[in-house]
């Protein structure tokens, strides 16, 4: 495998609170190769969106990156100044957010926002930028882009607005798009269209995509590889087929059982009993999932499992790791 486009290494993000710091991301590592779609999945609060924001350098106080590295094309970008980071956001990495209704500035036309973004990164005349904006709108599937370019955001439907958002993200021709739940706020009928659009753009432009979602079904259809997050950690990564069909981590197994298929749609979806623990003030000295895990044994509640590499896959679970001597009290 060639060098990854993006590499996140042992990332740790904490939030300062009145009662001391809380660990929101702990020891998060994963790679995204050029042209690859990485699905990041997990339940609410697992740290998926935060990981995306960390990559963009958009974590606001009281949150901050405490340790670890984020490498883009081998260069660290996690400690750049706001000015340098601005040159990365857009031309290198772009991000789209969950709610297209609130992602656009309501007081500027779609064209204004596109032209402004294009000209922030490329030395184009207003006229050329406008032509490019129209082209982008066409590319993301807005009908009659020559007319719609002068429309206001509120004149678009939700699905169309998400297309505009994607066009805005594409303005500076990024290499990687972080898509944070891009379909969650949309009608079911529109969700598939947006996912298809993202897939098409990735294929045609050789884009890498980090697709954050809680919807395992979307990932199964879209992603090349998947990273499963739980309580601020990555518990399993691997090629999407292998993880879907033979997940190694019990939590991932539970998630996969929850994918609705044609056969199971009518029946009640499998559920993992219990709920994810809340943020802890320090690295947990145990597996965060052990309270909900039906395969737990001695080390789970006393030592945090390290990440083990198994072929093209990685997993953090004692089931797949020789238990160190003395762990079983």
């Amino acid at each position: 495998m060639s060098a990854p486009l993006l590499s996140v290494r042992k990332l740790r993000v904490e939030f300062a609170t009145r009662k001391g710091p809380l660990v929101a991301l702990d020891d998060v590592s994963f790679d995204i190769a050029r042209g690859e779609v990485l699905g990041v999945v997990g339940e609410s609060g697992a740290g998926k969106s935060l990981t995306g924001l960390a990559i963009m350098g958009l974590i606001d106080p009281p949150g901050r990156i405490v340790s670890g590295e984020i490498l883009l094309d081998g260069e660290r970008i996690d400690h750049l100044s706001e000015d340098r980071m601005r040159l990365i956001r857009g031309p290198r990495i772009a991000m789209i957010f969950q709610d297209p209704l609130t992602s656009l500035d309501p007081l500027f036309t779609v064209g204004d926002q596109l032209v402004e973004t294009i000209r922030a990164h490329q030395p184009l005349s207003a006229q050329a930028a406008r032509q490019k904006a129209i082209g982008l709108l066409g590319e993301v599937g807005i009908p009659a882009p020559e007319q719609r370019v002068d429309s206001w955001p509120h004149e678009f439907s939700g699905g169309m607005r998400q297309r505009v958002v994607i066009a805005l993200a594409m303005c500076a021709e990024p290499e990687l798009i972080v898509a944070d739940e891009p379909t969650t706020a949309l009608d079911v009928s529109v969700q598939a269209q947006i996912i298809r659009l993202l897939k098409r753009l990735a294929r045609e432009r050789g884009l890498s995509v980090m697709l954050v979602t809680h919807d395992m079904g979307v990932i199964a259809e879209t992603a090349d590889r998947v990273a499963v997050m739980y309580a601020g950690r990555v518990v399993e990564t691997g090629p999407v087929r292998e993880v879907v069909h033979a997940a190694l981590h019990p939590y991932a197994q539970g998630l996969m059982a929850a994918i609705p298929t044609l056969e199971t749609r009518a029946v009640r979806l499998a559920q993992i009993p219990g709920s994810m623990p809340r943020l802890a003030p320090r690295t947990r000295p145990y597996c965060a999932f052990h309270t909900r895990c039906d395969k737990r044994f001695e080390p789970c509640s006393s030592i945090a499992p390290p990440v083990t590499r198994m072929g093209g896959r990685e997993v953090a679970c004692w089931l797949h790791e020789p238990v160190p001597a003395g762990a079983a009290r």
């Binding site: 609170t17 009145r18 609410s44 969106s49 706020a185 954050v212 809680h214 709920s275 809340r278």
Partner: protein
Amino acid sequence: MTAEPLIDTDITPRTDGTDERRGRFARLLDSDIMASFLASKLTVLAGFVTFAFLIIALFAPLIAPFNPFDPAQVFLIDARDPPIWMAGSDPRFLLGTDDQGRDMLSALFYGLRVSLLIGGLGVLLSALIGVTLGLIAGYAGGRIDALIMRIADIQLTFPAILIALLVDGVVHALLKSGGREDTAFGVMVLSIGLSFWVQYARTVRGSTLVERNKDYVHAARLIGLRSPQILWRHVLPNVLGPVLVIATINLALAVITEATLSFLGVGLPPTQPSLGTLIRIGNAYLFSGEWWIVAFPGITLAVLVIAVNMLGDWLRDALNPRLR
């Protein structure tokens, strides 16, 4: 998966679940509210100042060196003595005397008492009017609601101080009170009460509308609970927080309104001076260099209002962190 919301916008950290298991009161004491209070030294100072002023107002007759309302203790010969650190002062009068020879310090204590009493009663009255009208408007709906809220809208057209001035003028005209002294106090409370009810009414109406459409209210009505009971038990507790914030901020406003009316000469008479009256008296001597007659009541009023406003600000932020 779990019953947690699936939408993952929530990047703010949640703490360990320990907070939820304790009682309401224990949580309040250890909550963000208390913490935010203690976190800001200025807020603590404001709380302390407000408390001290309340104590002084409450016990003014006991701690004031003189009774400024007792003609037997006031002599014109002592008039306009400066504070004791200045030449020509009288050691009996720490902060000097006013134009009639009343001890400034004692007048301040009594003025504070009058100002806070009128402010407090005015706030109480306006909260009473506002909460009642808000509950009625929200619960009854329809024409009653439209009428009440229309009146509220129109009243908002006019600044409260103007309403208070108007009420003051009208009531005095209606009472034909030649000697204003006996009625001035009540008229002031009424003016303030009628000037500041709108905000309560709007807030309470909003909450009532939300509550009214909840299932348990329908259920309560089905099992025969009467409207007043439902309102009292379920709606009131929910609006107490906002009402408290409004009341705190309005206490400052009420004190200002009273002081302004008294300063303008339509409030309390000089025989029963509030801080505003004292400032009005002192203002006349500003040009002749007797600055203390206006400065001390002015500073007291300013400190009082700033302290109460800071408490109100803090309370609003603490109860609604999103606004911070």
